[in-house]
């Protein structure tokens, strides 16, 4: 962070972003996919900076793959909720830029809660500090939440400070056939309940100690026959966002004809389907505030050009 004398990687990244011409932030792995020669690719640094387990924070460059972060934290018995937000090679910056929580949102909370602070490279090539290093902070405007999900259109994340959590003693996935709302009501703080709309199967993720897991499995046994499995099911590619009650009432026919798979996150409202979600249209007044922010944060639209459309959809 600014002022700690360790900005070399961030400073070099800021120089590469510069102040003129369109730039796109890519991971090293996806560089070949940039596709547009008129847009210069830039790469965020990828160094582990500092893990402070007792403070439950980690400072890490945004170009670091989430699998690398996961391994480092696991050695100290901790994790972040970025786990499972993408394939292991996905960078931290890409996960936060997309702003999509993992299937464990029911227990872990929203991805936006993970980002405590960051060094943000601006459209003019300068570096701003947003947020802070502490787990609680209401100092000034909450730009961390604004940046998560902004797909780099407000600035490029160079280095981040993330909230960490203890790795649970047990992380157990079970499969059973049961009524989803009944499972939600019966369980205490399950990490995830996934309901396959076509097969009717539930996949439940339980995280905790011996006593907790045994207790919750007992409750599931009253609803069906839980069977231990290795992990969550493979999910269809498209993502729908509905109020939980709307998702609960969703039938396969509501999604589309000849639907092969659709899996909903019970109690959350995300539905993973093999059909694209209906397009969403923001009101003109909401779009005007987006434009006003972009006019200030990147007046020439040089940061990740074209991504604003995806932010709005």
């Amino acid at each position: 962070m600014a002022g700690d004398g360790s900005l070399d990687g961030v400073a070099a990244f800021a120089v590469s972003v510069g102040s003129t011409g369109p730039v796109r932030m890519l991971s090293r792995e996806s560089a070949a996919e940039s596709g547009d020669e008129a847009v210069r690719p830039v790469f965020a640094p990828r160094t582990m900076i500092d893990h402070r387990p007792a403070d439950m924070v980690v400072e890490v460059d945004a170009g670091t793959p989430i699998a690398v972060l996961c391994d480092v934290l696991a050695a100290a018995g901790q994790r972040t909720i970025l786990d499972g937000c993408g394939p292991p090679g996905t960078t931290i910056g890409a996960v936060l830029g997309a702003g999509r929580s993992s299937v464990d949102r029911l227990g872990d909370g929203s991805l936006t809660d993970a980002l405590l602070g960051a060094s943000l490279v601006l459209h003019n090539g300068r570096v701003a500090t947003i947020g802070g290093q502490t787990v609680k902070n209401v100092t000034g405007y909450d730009l961390c939440r604004l940046v998560v999900g902004s797909r780099g259109t407000l600035g490029f994340l160079a280095r981040v400070i993330l909230r960490t959590r203890p790795v649970p003693h047990h992380s157990v996935w079970v499969r059973l056939t049961a009524e989803p709302t009944g499972a939600l009501a019966a369980l205490d703080r399950p990490n995830a309940i996934l309901h396959d709309l076509v097969s009717g199967t539930l996949h439940v993720h339980l995280c905790g100690g011996d006593g907790y897991v045994a207790e919750q499995l007992d409750r599931l046994s009253a609803l069906g026959q839980p069977e231990m499995i290795d992990g969550p099911p493979e999910l269809p590619a498209h993502r729908w966002s509905l109020a939980p009650a709307s998702a609960a009432g969703l039938s396969p026919d509501d999604i589309g004809d000849s639907l092969v798979r659709a899996v909903k996150e019970v109690g959350v409202g995300i539905v993973h389907a093999d059909r694209p979600a209906p397009s969403r249209t923001l009101s003109p007044s909401i779009r005007s505030w987006h434009q006003a922010l972009w006019d200030r944060f990147d007046p020439a639209e040089r940061l990740n050009p074209g991504e604003r459309r995806r932010v709005l959809s």
């Binding site: 909370g109 609680k136 939440r145 959590r165 409202g269 009101s283 007044s285 922010l293």
Partner: protein
Amino acid sequence: MTELARVVGEGGVLGGGDRHVYRKDASTYAGIDPVAVVFPRSVEQVEALVGVARRFATPIVTRGAGTGLAGGAVVIDRSIVLVTTRMRSVLDIDTTNRIAWVEPGVLNLDLQHRLVEVGHHFAPDPSSQQACTLGGNVANNSGGPHCLASGVTTAHVAALHVVGADGVRRELGGTDPEPAGLDLRGLMVGSEGTLGIVTAIAVRLTPNPRRVATVLASFDDLDLASDAVSAVIAAGIVPAALEMMDGPLAAVVEDFVHAGFPVHAAAVLLVELDGSPASVHDELHGVTTVLERCGATTVATAADEAQRAGWWKGRKSAFGAIARIKPDYYLHDTVVPRTKLTLVLRQIRDAVAAEGLVVHNVFHAGDGNLHPLVLFDAREPGVMERVHRCGDAIVAASLAAGGVLSGEHGIGIEKRDHMGEQFDDVSLEVQEWARAALDPDALLNPSKVLPAARGCGDLAELPDGVWI
């Protein structure tokens, strides 16, 4: 006045000498009389009031119950004060979606009472929850003891209806988990009335836990208690609440509330665990083991709900009990990395002692959120300068330890001019971009949050009559 009365009726606008009451909030800052005070009852009236303010180029300071401690609702510019306390309906409670829509003037505790019957609660529980409004909670991104595991207000707000400085009504966020667009809801929460006027809030409801266990531990050394806080977290346990109170203050509280607090301890920790019966059982064993290993002289678990309620009443009565020691106190709010608690508490104690004053501490230790209370008697000549220097020392010690200016009270005017100590010029400029994008004419609560030279207002320094 005529224009305002046309919008809210004669009974909805206050002029004359009664405006004086709305100069200030619960902070120690005295403001100036507002131009007028208005009490809208609907979003349509708020829209119309913004229109009047725009026509007359007169800023609006929005306030709820006025319990803010950072001066966010203090009037320091020629302004209209818009009070939300007549917008106090709970519009809908939807346990299927775990959402309640409320108007901004609903009191935090009133909502909690409404939610008891449906087995849910709203997680943020500021110490002022009997009086503070949910609109104020949103404006300040308020916290409370039970925000350690579950986060402050922003983690518990799904959507907002706001009226912007352009007089247009918008819905930010949504009741679905991933609304389209930038997280404008997240930007609005904690913006202290400078980006929009909140007219309705969709708060997230949390199911009540099946089991709760509360532990009271005493220590004969403040440093040992601070170290125990880190040890609990390092053991992989994140309690629902982890509070600390210094021993002398606990003794005063005990004399005031008779909650069963120790009267000869150097420090007291209040730890609450909640969840399933099995998880609470396991964590209770873990917490008591850690506390004993860290040198606690007593560790007790609440035997029943009455004892638990008594302990929490004691914790939440601490500020009131201070009056038994000194007539006035200055309550600060900073956050430090929890591993720096011991160091920073010692630095604060020494800095305050150097000014010939006394400090007590009652705070959210689990997330490092300090609340030093500097005690003084305002009748003592020159004491305010010493109190002010103590405040500066608290900020300096917290920032030097890697901390931040505020954990739950906000910036207001209290810490506005300290913002440059946490953020460099580039970082402050980015915050200004956000503000200028949504309120380019500085109509909403100008001269707050950002430093004077950076804010949209032209105020270079606090006017006469504003004191700390």
